[in-house]
Assembly symmetry: C2
Homo-oligomer: 453 residues x 2
Amino acid sequence: MTERDQQLDRYLQENLENYIQETATLCAQPSISATGEGVESCAELVAALLEQRNFRVERVETPGNPVIVGHLSGASHRTLLCYNHYDVQPPEPLELWTTPPFEPTLRGGALYARGAKDDKGELVARLAAFDAVRAVYGEPPCSLLFVVEGEEEIGSPHMPQFVEDNRERLQCHGAIWETGGTTIDGHPELWLGCRGVLAVELSVETLSKDAHSGSAHILPNAAWRLTRALSSLKDANDRIRIAGFYDQAVALSEADRRHLATLPDMEKRLREVYGVEEFVRGLSGADLRSAVFEPTCNIQGLQSGYTGQGMKTVIPAVARVKLDFRLVPWQDPDDILDKLRTHLDREGFHDVVISKLGAMWPYKADDNDPLVALVRQSGEEVYGKASVVTPLLGGSSPVYAFHRPLNIPVVSAGIGYGMENRLHAPDEHIRIDDFLQGCRHISRIMARFDTLS
Amino acid sequence: MTERDQQLDRYLQENLENYIQETATLCAQPSISATGEGVESCAELVAALLEQRNFRVERVETPGNPVIVGHLSGASHRTLLCYNHYDVQPPEPLELWTTPPFEPTLRGGALYARGAKDDKGELVARLAAFDAVRAVYGEPPCSLLFVVEGEEEIGSPHMPQFVEDNRERLQCHGAIWETGGTTIDGHPELWLGCRGVLAVELSVETLSKDAHSGSAHILPNAAWRLTRALSSLKDANDRIRIAGFYDQAVALSEADRRHLATLPDMEKRLREVYGVEEFVRGLSGADLRSAVFEPTCNIQGLQSGYTGQGMKTVIPAVARVKLDFRLVPWQDPDDILDKLRTHLDREGFHDVVISKLGAMWPYKADDNDPLVALVRQSGEEVYGKASVVTPLLGGSSPVYAFHRPLNIPVVSAGIGYGMENRLHAPDEHIRIDDFLQGCRHISRIMARFDTLS
């Protein structure tokens, strides 16, 4: 470890409490993009955090929530982009939180709040890393560009157009994505890609109003109609029945297989965390890891008729389902949307209406990129363990929106541990030790980014 | 028409406004058995209405809501039982009511309120008929027994036991059921039976908590699991796949067929009222009427996962559906419940939990009973049109609970018109003219009931 690395580590250790406080302040401000709650105030908070650090901050309007862009020139014109988001998932179900989602609480060496990990803690870790680099180096060796958007949790609908429209402003030489960290046993984790997603709502109306269920022998039931349409989407073995659905899906490469073989076994932990009795398609062991190359059709939520206490003898007139399809490289969400419509029509479900809720394209990085090597090597230094490379994440992100137009490598580093941070769920949290290590890792990437050719 | 009939008619005409007001007062008191709202206060109102008329009123406690029993001795010991209920369906969806459900409103010659028809207006019509008979005859020719329960809309779970426990108190020679009226074109309608019902909730839990949908390739989704369990219940032609489901279902008799042939065509009206494009199994014309002899499996409501605004990328841990099976004579809801469990187990859905929400047995009257003849004849006198006999109603009622232990015929007479009163739906109402005619019909039944051998 160099003397400067030690100085970075020390700075971060000494100022840790301030950064936890900064994270808590940010988390106390709701910013639920699904409903709009608190989004505007949170954008202002983020802008202020960058301004305090002398970044040149621009608030860029989109048809949705604003994007906060912060730029700071360093010793080199080589620019590292940090992508984060200030919006969070809805906190429901509220009754399952130990402490309220927007009242950040420290307990057992961890900070609990909606957004603690996803993605406010990650954002503050980068600001902390930046502070450390500036404290140690005076002028940061590379230039920095923060892009903090407010619609990631609803599928980043305006990010692709934003990047297209702001190519000049966003010129850079590499990016660190919103999330990262270690495996459950502390190995630094690096991911090379993520799946795309297509989210839709299907709705069907069979009657102009609800009717008494005494007429169920003659009046068509919207919930039954939707159940049948849903059933047409998958076979008994969970294979998606939409014609052409798998046409653009890549098979696993040999390199992917090698990476997958080094990943920790997740079966036991998944069984513990989620109480799973049987995994999808009866999968177990190594197959649970390689299954990420299998695209999915997931029901996010179903609603029809009377769902209150007791019973109500009605035939529901309307039924709705929210679905998300996770797509592997190089499936195209627009293409899948067309194929879904064609499928429903062919199966006789012309009356099932599709509303698009969001779309993202899959992404996969070049295994041999120098930035990949830097993240890997610095991670191994900080964490003192071999890094683990995940070829493809199960989730989605708007990486594609940056990677394609800007032609840059995109990597991951951050503050998470395994699948334990309860993202999108009650009791989301970060561990303080993970936070500190994540700050150290990112400070090294920022300190050395200018040395990459 | 006899002179006394004319006097009955005149009395009811002259006092009509009071009875509409009495109905409105009763409807202004919510009494939603599904949630418990206002039930207790409504029971007190009903008791007061009977006490004002010098009935000997008893409030009989059950494990659920109390039953109000009113008895009044007439000139003969022959006793006519009037069954009604003071509870109503939940008023949702509220936004579809023209005026609020519990603010009774007169417009266009009709009274709009939740319960106006089902069943508060029907109850008041019987009280009005009684008042008329007493005014004209002095002492009523027969004895009267009012039984007004508070759990009909949740399946009358305690009525069978109540009747068993109170056989002595309930000794009588015939009963008028809660509902009745005319066809859409004004022919008095008489029904001979009704279907039974079994209502259940199916629930399934695949995870101990919701998970991120990025893991949908491995973590089992409760909404998908429930969708598949539901799909196993019916074939593509809407035939229920539960083994032995149809074993106890009677076929249509020749008498049933003759009655069905005289029933008005409902296709056009159903299309108008419910905006139906295609009926269940593509039925049309006369088949829409005979299909009531087909038992059903109806989805009342479906709920799983995130159903709010926008989207949420979750795998739901839990999914629920409320179902009702309408049963024809002589299917037994307890037997069907056993067969449903066996079916789910056989199909591999051991994890789908069944909760029983309610059960009622089917009922069918003897076509040749003297009380049936009295109701028919007096109806034809009042309405001046041939009566129409419905062999089996699509809905359910606890008729069986009275018919079997008390060994009495049970008939129908009342204030409805066709399927137009919007029972269980927004804008439930009664037409004032129908109300008056219904009062007249019932007053004749009360006046002559003692003459039946």
